[in-house]
Symmetry: C2
């Protein structure tokens, strides 16, 4: 092989060896003014996950925090567009979202993942891949009868008529969290109260400023 042209100015060792990320998570967190974390919202359809997630995102953004919501709308037609509704695909969907949420937390962001995520094992898998204290499980808890009465998309009605199969709470199980970091009884709290409850936790765990910046 012919000798290649010399590398200009830079010593070979510096130029060639793949380096690790030069910006550490603590540096990012100091810059952002809060710690990164994953807030994992789980609960029945119509329990209020998306509504609270979006209001929380707005509240955190107003406080100057770096925050991003991952939900079905963000991944259904993109990252997880190859997945169907089989059981294996549902597990894989949560696994991938968990890995992406972890990347956002590594970037110093507060990542809010809002998915029914009915299986305890799937949620626990996401917990295990995260560094200690970076995973906060938020149980968005409304009784099934309340969710079914809300039914904003008419999904429960279809499930009762067997037009939708394997519908969580009706014809598929929902495994409630055993020790969620935060539980929100959305049949008793309104959205603002639910958001305040989470902010109070984030103030302690992530250094989020309580007052709006």
């Amino acid at each position: 092989m012919a000798k290649s042209p010399p590398l200009k100015k830079l010593p070979k060792s510096k130029n060639l060896v793949a380096s690790v990320s030069t910006v550490s998570l603590p540096q990012r967190e100091v810059h952002n003014g809060h710690r990164g974390a994953v807030l994992w919202f789980t609960g029945l359809s119509a329990s209020g996950k998306s509504t609270i997630a979006n209001e929380l995102e707005a509240a955190l953004f107003k406080r100057g925090c770096h925050v991003f919501v991952l939900d079905g709308d963000r991944v259904r037609h993109g990252l997880c567009s190859d997945l169907d509704f089989s059981e294996a695909s549902r597990h894989e969907n949560i696994r991938r979202v968990g890995e992406v949420a972890k990347l956002f937390a590594e970037a110093g962001t507060i990542c809010i993942a809002a998915f029914i995520s009915p299986y305890r094992a799937d949620r626990d898998l996401v917990r295990t891949i995260m560094a200690g204290g970076k995973f906060l499980e938020v149980y968005v808890n409304a009784p099934l009868k309340v969710c079914e009465q809300r039914d904003p998309k008419g999904l429960y009605a279809k499930a009762r008529k067997h037009e939708i199969r394997n519908f969580t709470g009706i014809s598929a199980p929902y495994e409630a969290p055993l020790k969620p970091e935060i539980e929100l009884r959305t049949d008793k709290l309104n959205v603002a109260e639910a958001v305040d409850k989470i902010l109070s936790n984030l103030q302690k765990t992530c250094g989020v400023p309580w007052k709006k910046s």
Copy 2:
């Protein structure tokens, strides 16, 4: 079904309908002081992708930008841990990374994706899913003979001895970009010069401040 307890304080319509994200991308970009984008680094093994990506990340971070590097180390054992080295898996790997990079750009971050990504169609697919001007292809271009002489991990030597199959540039094709937004001849530029060339582009395209903050 029994009547559920009334929703406290909040009108039903507001509480129940899934809402879209309440923080827009322009709001995020104003807050960050620069636009979000995907910088897609492509090039042969040992062309300098990771080294430049990490130095660029440090330079952008010093300027107060929100930046994150996606590379093999970030996804191999996580998001893409289920993928092997078959051709189908390689395409799927790039597709998933592209979708994640897009999410970071939607969060207002400058996301640097550094992968050999040898197939033009795979890179073009990522370009098509991004909004106009948000995808910048960075061709990290060193002649094969230079990369092979560098060979920091001894991979080219193994590929020549047929110990590694389907090695890009040796026994598998590399399809060079036809119209990359940025081309870096890393046999002629050093790392600092390469970083400056990208920063100069980002100043125009993403509003990145030229001087360190």
